[in-house]
Symmetry: C2
Subunit: 815 residues, 2 copies
């Protein structure tokens, strides 16, 4: 695929710069949160100049009009990004239209309106100072203070009191108000990324979101006019179209995504506007936004007919009367005429908001009532322990905390070790998922071929299967991948021991021998019966869980490696045993408590199995795809299996898919003239297109140093993600028994004794509850806690998490 | 969610019409196909008036300019939909610009150009006749003939010979040519759906696509000027923006989707144009289109910088010089100046085309080399038997047939019985999949709650679980759902037999008794070991396939029901047996050969199990969600299970997801104070958001008579899909043994003896090969062939398939 620009005349030397400058811009480190005590909406448009600000002003009028003597209202309007400033100022426009309207048609009581500007580029702030008397006719308090990055803190403010038309009013009477704010202004009337560049006034995405978060918080605070609680309504107006770049160059629909605020879309009523409106809506959906309404100005083309047909049952469509060319009455009569529409819009927005908060509040109880969670004793999960996840943005959940707050938590368990994407890759995957569903849905696999399945098979054989695997068998999850691997290994073993195969063929009943696996004690390979049988007996395999389980293996106690008190140590087991057939191997035992098995031990074991013609299976479901810093754990122990299983992170963590890779020898054990000799195992969605596409995209993205800043280009290794000094410090803490930090994993075993140790232990729960307050979502494996990031997570994020964990361990140790 | 329009003044009475008129418009019955012998591209734009036609003309000039003495070129330009006609005519514009350019800058040899109009609305065709002398200055042959639907077959034609500048030319010399065609013209310069309505000249989507297919076929045919094979390049220009409605009201990106031709997107270089370009691209991706290049006119805003950042590595971006306001030279100098860009564009398009065809040709061999297909003896699948699936549109595959053709085949095996969507639902699902990936990706399930999982659990309990189930346990596929169901049933059985439970609890080793299932012989429940154990012994469970299989059940031979010679018959089995523990039940045995088990037998069996406190599992993986005409098979046998398994069609067939539903009694057997009493079974992607969302959408869509025309609103049953007379006829054919037609399934057992019977038989393969030529993709179960449609498939489509099958059976019977 080409990735160049063909430009008709200009020099091409800027190509390189263009291609790589934006991908790592959006590493957002601040914790995003916003209140759910009142509606906060973002207003988007399918193009510039479609009247977003008219809609904002109309909503402000409609909302404040509903004030009564006993019900005070506060309408907050935020314009984070304003170009062409101060000539163009949408917050001033809303302030003015609102004021003019109520000056002309006063309410029974007084209303306050204000407009504030927080920061302006130096060129914009100079104009602001010069034009002071011309532009701002109301009371103006302005002071300019130069700050970094080419901005001045202008703190420009104007306000008006709109007198009510009833005489019995006093200053103590509850007062409604409209608060308008421009966050950043640039002088040139061009796209924000151009204005920011030309005026040398740049603002990073994180910084902008942080200021927005503060402004949203301010919406809660009572004003100077009254101590009475007010009903608040907040509107954030974007600049240009939904995918217009913000000041950093990030598209605005990406820039604001961490908040994922509900949206209003201002559509286009002109010729061609149907298409633009639908496409803009689809771009919002492709970022996970919910759109509460579409509204547009009538241009006599009845665009609402096809739009309604498209939006049927999903989104209400509202039509505003044409805006008159003659604006001599300052649009007062237009706003008047439009009030029914704005009131409908406002009601839709408020009702959607109430529905959303109601649902969020109801969800824990409903979940406790009808879900049956895996690996969960429901009696031990009271409603208040249930986490309501509103969305995910990269490595972070947005959770509904207490009654009235949406807040981010870092998904430190990587959602059962599946997760890889950051916010950028997530959006790329979203588009690819939409595309793949539209192009293929799912199509039948056997005897067929289609691009995503073929490309994934190629990528797997060139990557994790390089130099040993020749075939790819797809299934749905790690457990099925292991069941398939076992079937392959059994056949290979029989085929390598022809005497045995003859025995099988000559025995009508065919139950002529007892095949066992050689496996590591403490390993976990999945919960279907075949995968369970390859695990050593434990409470998880007991009669109470699965009466059919027998434990068909010889199980070894391997030596493990971990850091204690700052040094790496090997823990030796009792002694070794050895016996027949398939053997499974993995570098780190995940569910078994994040134990890192001695690599040398594994290498020798594999070599010995190969010498004895025992087929070797690597279960890389957990360890594959850079989970431990390398594409496969096999790279680390420097030997190759006959069969290997992959799942979890393979698709980047969006969707289930598994692959069992096999060598040519294994495959050959199944070929012949009879279908009955083939591997007769399959699942309906074998090699489903969406899973394959997600895997193709994710593996390529992880591997490419242009998209994965953690990838060291020569070695194809991830850089160290966990600060090594901090790891040593933690391992030396008296409350800590051992630490394993490798690739995306940092596991900490807390020193515990008796019932505090082991998988069933609740020992770590108070620690984990506090970490959730710190914005880190962890789940323990008994007294082992772990943090898991993705291959794309920046070391800075990892460091900040580790610091928080260390601080909480210090508190914990003092108990 | 609201679904109304709020309109500022107009009467609201058209609401109802608006909301329901378009959803069933796009039932396309014709078989879509197009040649791959030469590039065929569709040119789209992000808005109106961005210069699609300039790009078309530029490409025509660039392509023909590359002609040489020995290489004849043919450029075909098609404009399917033209409004504002004949004043506006893009095909005439291309014809003119091309002609003017080569009249001014002649090639060494002559070139022909022609422009044709096929159909015009009556108002448009009157103007065409009147304006004849003004509008068409070249040789014009016009005749108007009234046809149905308000169109005239105008067959308007003009052509020019552009003399070469070398003297030694003769008429025999290979001649290059540009062929321009307008398919449908309307007079008013408004959106096609409005023009079609106002001029009472409607054209259905099917009809339009059929004409387009014919026009594309014509591109292959040699012209009158030469018998020499020419190199062809074909361009189809759409009208307006990507999501502008076509004449029927279908969005054009939906209308043309069955062809899924590669695309060129003309973007927008103006202020706000970045957003519109990106959104339009995303709308194309959300319909499964591949975009080869984005091109736009420079307006001095360097829109290419953010566009390149967005399109990085995916799509090349090209920038055209600004179009001069002064057009006095007919843009000749502009076309001249733009030739480098057009030539780059042309080369990108040709190279993408060659890459695509090369890949399609290579895929079968690569698939045979590296895939390991499930249930497939690779030695029996030669390369030429491999089907290359380019895409799916609703129930149809687009397959790559022979070397140079893309053609539709009806997916009559519903891709292993998973499929439900038609073209409309597929596009809805695609958007929802993109949204869900962007909003959630996948998030951790245990102790958490998020909307798609909760909503799906609610829908399942109100639907298939109504009146009996209270809990939903999610997993990944039918096999895991069955493993979970077995674990539930065992515990329930122990819990109901407290003596046994005490025995278990007192026995340290816990292997105190042998639990078995009571199941039906011939049933299939999946390929993981636990699911296999619940199946009767067969070659599929033998030692060669899984040495650990023992067959832990008592297996019954049930009576079956089918139609033979036009009458329904019950086949009685040997005799019944009966024994302990869980029992599985399903109305139709799918993999076992589409046997319909006697419902009365099942009802009695279930009642008897319940009497004896044996927990009952319904395996509804295949039968659930209207597969057999009702939401669940349980509705048909009028009794309820304790546990039931669902998968396959649950997600509409896009993505794997399974659910095991359980009654409260079953759930209670797992509650207690210890985690070890909980059901300790789970998969990483348990209740993954995308699967849940697909299921929510699909189940609602299938159930709603407003979206599913097959749903009879009172009874919640599907209407009969298979023509009953035809079914009787087929069942009476001498080559046919029996027929089962129920819901979306029509299975036909061919009369066969000895090795021709049974699952391994190749008996039906010649029949199925012929049906693939008829555009029907089927897979046999030995001598049983079946057709499976989706719950949304129209009875007309089913009828046409059944007719083709009947015709082939008649041929087959004569062998």
């Amino acid at each position: 695929m080409l990735s160049t620009v063909v430009f008709y005349s200009a020099s091409l030397c800027r190509r390189v710069v263009i291609q790589s400058y934006s991908i790592h811009r959006r590493r957002i480190h601040s914790v995003i949160e916003y209140p759910l005590t009142h509606p906060i909406y973002t207003i988007w448009a399918s193009n510039t100049s479609l009247g977003k600000t008219l809609v904002s002003a109309g909503l402000s009028i409609s909302f404040i009009s509903s004030s009564t003597r006993s019900s005070r209202k506060k309408f907050v309007y935020l314009k984070p990004i304003q170009t062409g400033f101060p000539e163009d100022s949408d917050s001033r426009f809303v302030y003015r239209k609102f004021s003019d309207f109520f000056a002309y048609k006063p309410l029974p009581f007084s209303v306050y309106a204000s407009n504030r500007v927080l920061k302006a580029s130096i060129p914009a702030s100079s104009v602001l100072m010069n034009d002071r008397n011309e532009v701002f006719v109301d009371e103006v308090v302005g002071k300019g203070k130069k700050i970094g990055d080419g901005f001045k803190n202008v703190e420009w403010y104007e306000e008006r009191k709109l007198q009510g038309n009833e005489s019995n009013e006093s200053e103590l009477f509850p007062v409604s108000e409209v608060v308008c704010e421009t966050m950043y202004g640039w002088k040139e009337a061009v796209s924000p990324h151009l204005a920011a560049e030309r005026e040398e006034a740049m603002v990073g995405d994180s910084e902008l979101l942080n200021l927005l978060k503060r402004c949203l918080g301010n919406g809660l605070v009572g004003t100077t006019y009254s101590s009475v609680e007010s009903e608040v309504f907040c509107l954030i107006e974007t600049a240009g179209g939904v995918a217009s770049p913000g000041p950093s160059g990030s598209l605005q629909c990406d820039l604001y995504r961490p908040f994922r605020l509900p949206a209003i879309l201002v559509g286009d009523g002109r010729l061609g506007g149907i298409s633009g409106t639908i496409s803009a809506y689809e771009s919002l959906k492709l970022r996970g936004y919910d759109v509460s309404a579409v509204i547009f100005e009538d241009h006599g083309l009845v665009n609402e007919v096809p739009l309604l047909s498209y939006f049927r049952d999903r989104v209400p469509v509202l039509v505003l009367p044409s805006v008159p060319k003659d604006m001599s009455d300052d649009l007062i009569s237009w706003f008047d005429k439009s009030q029914t529409v704005f009131t409908s819009l406002k009601e839709i927005m408020i009702s959607d908001f109430l529905e959303r908060t109601q649902r969020l509040n109801d969800m824990p109880k409903k979940a406790c009532d009808i879900f049956w969670w895996p690996f969960t004793q429901h009696k031990l999960v009271p409603e208040e322990k249930v986490t309501v996840i509103d969305s995910r943005c990269g490595e972070n959940f947005a959770v509904h905390k207490s009654v009235d707050w949406i807040s981010q938590q870092f998904d430190a368990c990587a959602s059962w070790w599946t997760q890889g994407p950051d916010a950028n890759l997530q959006i790329e995957l979203a588009r690819d998922m939409g595309y793949t569903a539209a192009r293929y849905g799912h199509v039948m696999f056997p005897e067929n071929v289609y691009e995503p399945a073929l490309e994934l098979a190629e990528i797997l054989l060139e990557g994790v299967g390089k130099d040993w695997a020749s075939r790819v068998y797809f299934s749905d999850n790690g457990s099925t991948a292991v069941e398939i691997a076992l079937k392959m290994a059994f056949r290979k073993f029989l085929s390598d021991n022809k005497v045995l195969l003859d025995l099988v063929n000559s025995d009508v009943n065919g139950r002529c021998m007892d095949l066992k696996v050689l496996a590591l004690r403490g390993s976990y390979h999945g919960d279907t019966l075949g995968a369970m049988e390859a695990q050593a007996p434990s409470p998880y395999t007991g009669f109470l869980q699965q009466p059919w389980y027998r434990g068909r293996g010889e199980f070894l106690d391997p030596p493990t490696v971990s850091m204690c008190d700052g040094t790496w140590e090997v823990s030796l087991p009792g002694k070794l045993q050895s016996d027949k057939s398939g053997q499974e191997c993995l570098l780190v035992q995940g569910a078994g408590g994040m134990l890192m098995i001695d690599p040398l031990y594994q290498r020798i074991l594999v070599r010995e199995c190969k010498n004895q013609k025992i087929p070797v299976i690597f279960d890389e479901v957990f360890t594959g795809f850079w989970r431990l810093g390398r594409e496969s754990a096999a790279e680390m122990i420097h030997c190759q299996p006959d069969i290997a299983c992959y799942a979890k992170l393979m698709t980047g963590g969006v969707i289930p898919l598994a692959a069992t890779l096999a060598s040519d020898d294994v495959f050959e054990a199944f070929t012949g003239d009879s279908k009955l000799k083939a591997l007769l195992h399959g699942h309906s969605y074998s090699a489903h297109a969406m899973g394959c596409m997600a895997a193709v995209k994710s593996i390529k993205w992880f591997k490419d140093p242009n998209t994965n800043m953690n990838m060291m280009s020569e070695s194809r290794l991830l850089q160290e993600l966990w600060d090594s000094e901090l790891v040593v410090q933690i391992s030396s803490h008296p409350a800590v028994h051992r630490v394993v930090a490798l690739g995306t994993l940092c596991a900490i075993e807390l020193l515990a004794e008796g019932s505090n140790a082991g998988y069933g232990s609740m020992y770590a729960s108070s620690l984990l509850n506090k970490l959730r307050d710190d914005g880190i979502y962890m789940r323990p494996l008994g007294n082992v806690i772990y943090m898991m990031c993705g291959p794309l997570t920046s070391p800075e994020v990892c460091r900040s998490i580790l610091e928080k964990v260390y601080a909480r361990i210090q508190e914990f140790g003092q108990h």
